[in-house]
């Protein structure tokens, strides 16, 4: 029908016009929730078109003014800039809150019982920990791979989080059953959070060494490949041992919070199993550093074992 077509055409035109009219100025200060922008971009008679004079909304809501009109294509793909600002503000506030909770849990692991049980933070905290650990591991992977070339640095950067998180995925079910049989009988969600806190402790320890490893990698000559390998192995070992203390205290706090007994065998078995699977995974996902003369490949053929390789490297060194 011609009338419908004309109406549809009008609706389509509404979108860019509405978008242009509702366009917010670029400079919005995040720290100032009242929405007042500084007068740096325009002076005097410049009036800022504010769609929200009361300041950004704390929670993202579907803008009600679009509910009266049902244009085609649907307007949900078009958002006001203030909507993005609300999301960013809320995200940053949540992230900083989670970061402070996480840091407190790492620095005072004996008080992290309630966090693991789940009373302090919701399910989004698990995703935050996952992302934070991935970022820290990626930074260390970058420092490892930069020895060969920039591309190898990027590849190692991507592979490192997978190393630890895949090891955790492989080990999760035995650890859950061990937790039910030997240790505090945490539920699946609580076990996931406990293990993620443990992984993030390891990530924090590794990430703190990242700048030093970066320095060594960037200032090393080609012949220092074996030295670097040994340094990385030692660093991984120290980070693991350092994080084991944090992990043991976190496990103990979780058990104490639920008033259930915890046997030390549980923590030792956890450490052994994770170390075992982790070393095999690191062998499978090699190369990490990349010898200078050899062209860099994403993965080498599966063969041999981790211990044998370390033995060989120590002999060469």
């Amino acid at each position: 029908m011609a009338n419908d077509e004309q109406r549809n055409a009008e609706r389509v035109l509404f979108l860019p016009v509405g978008w242009a009219l509702a366009h917010q100025p670029l400079m919005v200060s995040y720290a100032d929730p009242s929405g007042k922008t500084p007068r740096a971009m325009g002076q005097g008679r410049t009036r800022w078109a504010k769609a929200e004079p009361d300041g950004p909304r704390p929670i993202l809501q579907f803008p009600r003014r679009f509910l009266e009109v049902r244009p085609f294509p649907p307007l949900r793909f078009f958002r006001l800039r203030s909507d993005f600002v609300c999301v960013q503000y809320h995200c940053m506030e949540t992230i900083s809150r989670y970061a402070s909770i996480w840091w407190n849990a790492l620095v005072h692991p004996e008080q992290s019982g309630r966090l693991v049980i789940g009373t302090e933070a919701g399910a989004r905290f698990d995703w935050f920990i996952l992302a934070a650990s991935a970022v820290l591991y990626a930074f260390y992977g970058l420092s490892m791979g930069l020895f060969h070339s920039f591309a190898s640095g990027l590849v190692s950067c991507v592979k490192m989080p997978f190393l630890f998180l895949l090891s955790l995925a492989v080990c999760f079910y035995p650890l859950y059953v061990l937790n039910c049989v030997l240790g505090p009988r945490l539920s699946v969600r609580q076990t996931v959070r406990l293990l993620l806190v443990a992984i993030s402790a390891n990530a924090a320890a590794l990430g703190s060494y990242g700048p030093v490893s970066l320095f060594f990698t960037l200032t090393a000559f080609d012949k220092d490949y074996h030295f670097l390998i040994i340094m990385h192995v030692v660093v991984f070992g120290f980070a693991g041992i350092a994080s084991l203390f944090v992990i043991a205290l976190a496990f103990r706090a979780a058990a104490a919070e639920l008033r259930k007994p915890l046997r030390p065998v549980f923590i030792i078995a956890w450490g052994l199993l994770y170390a075992f699977v982790g070393t095999q995974m690191s062998w499978v996902l090699r190369p990490w550093v990349g010898c200078k003369g050899v062209p860099y490949t994403f993965f080498r053929t599966v063969g041999g074992s981790f211990i044998e390789a370390v033995w060989r490297v120590m002999h060469n060194f």
């Binding site: 995925a169 492989v170 080990c171 999760f172 079910y173 035995p174 859950y176 059953v177 061990l178 039910c180 049989v181 009988r185 539920s187 008033r259 199993l273 699977v277 095999q280 995974m281 062998w283 499978v284 599966v302 063969g303 041999g304 074992s305 211990i307 044998e308 033995w311 060989r312 002999h315």
Partner: protein, 309 residues
């Protein structure tokens, strides 16, 4: 002389500057500053002379009921893992044991099937010389063999355990002993199935058959130890509740008996994984010994390193 040389008590010590001594006001005061409140009174010693107990938490634990297994395989396995006290209560009251035994049997067999499938899949993942249909058949056959292994071991071991229990310890009825053993077997096979992911990962990424065989033996041993520990705890707790004697060294004998019967049964029912050089067979001819094979594998795995150098 004693008045001047004895160390001053906390309430007598004077923290003014003149009394600090050569270390000065900033130095730590040994023994702590003077107390404002008196130290807390320790808890009274009970009249029978036993050592004073740690104060119990204010939250009372809910009373333990009989076990009620939910419907569903995974849910009932999870229930078994999370509520051993309820299972113990059912065993003690001797109620609903037949239904519980059926559920536990299903859990045992199901978990054993899972682990058997992963065991048989080793050949598929490592690229051995067997034909493709033989590899799939291996998975099915091993998935049938592992639960049968558990069942046969249970049947063989049940009678000596019942009789020794009757003679030397808590005299439970046959139904209770069967249910206890099935609960222990369910815990064993659940623990075993939990290692399936680890074994799958190692089968995918390592090429040495002997190493994987040793891993299997290790995981079976670990699961057996866990299951027997839970059996021992059930028997001991039931003995305490019925105020009957609890056998001590008998538990060790049960452990040995279970280990021997289990290993011999596994050797008789081999192959589970299938050596890379041998052809496909459902059962191999009776040759050698389980322990001989394990020691040979150990030797091969340990000898690998100096040879490859």
């Amino acid at each position: 002389m004693t008045d001047q040389t004895r160390t001053p008590k906390p309430e007598e010590r004077d923290n003014s500057q003149s009394n600090q001594g050569p270390s000065g006001p900033g130095a730590p005061v040994f023994g702590g500053p003077a107390r404002e409140t008196p130290p807390p009174i320790p808890p009274p010693i009970p009249p029978d002379g036993s050592p004073p107990r740690r104060p119990q938490p204010a939250v009372e634990e809910p009373p333990v009921c009989e076990a009620e297994f939910p419907k569903g395989f995974w849910k009932s396995a999870d229930y078994l893992l999370h509520h051993p006290n309820e299972v113990l209560e059912s065993l003690h009251r001797d109620k609903g044991l037949v239904e519980m035994s059926k559920t536990l049997l299903v859990i045992t067999l199901g978990m054993a099937v899972i682990y058997g499938a992963v065991m048989g899949a080793t050949n598929l993942l490592q690229g051995s010389t067997m034909a493709a249909h033989e590899k799939l058949l291996m998975i099915v056959i091993t998935a049938i063999k592992v639960p049968v292994l558990f069942l046969l071991t249970l049947f063989i071991v049940l009678w000596p355990i019942y009789v020794s229990n009757a003679f030397m310890g808590a005299r439970h009825s046959f139904r209770v002993v069967v249910a206890e053993m099935l609960a222990a077997m369910a815990v064993t096979s659940t623990t075993l199935a939990s290692m399936a992911t680890v074994i799958f990962f190692f089968a995918l990424t390592s090429e040495t058959y002997d190493f994987i065989k040793l891993l299997h033996v290790l995981f079976f041993a670990y699961a057996g130890v866990v299951g027997l520990t839970s059996l021992i705890q059930y028997v001991r707790e039931l003995g305490y509740r019925a105020r009957r004697a609890t056998p001590r060294f008998l538990f060790f004998i049960w452990l040995l008996l279970y280990a021997f019967v289990g290993t011999q049964m596994a050797w008789v029912m081999r192959p589970f994984v299938g050596s890379p050089g041998e052809k496909f067979q459902v059962f191999r001819p009776r040759q050698g010994n389980f322990y001989e094979s394990v020691f040979k594998s150990l030797g091969k795995v340990l000898e690998e390193k100096p040879e490859k150098k």
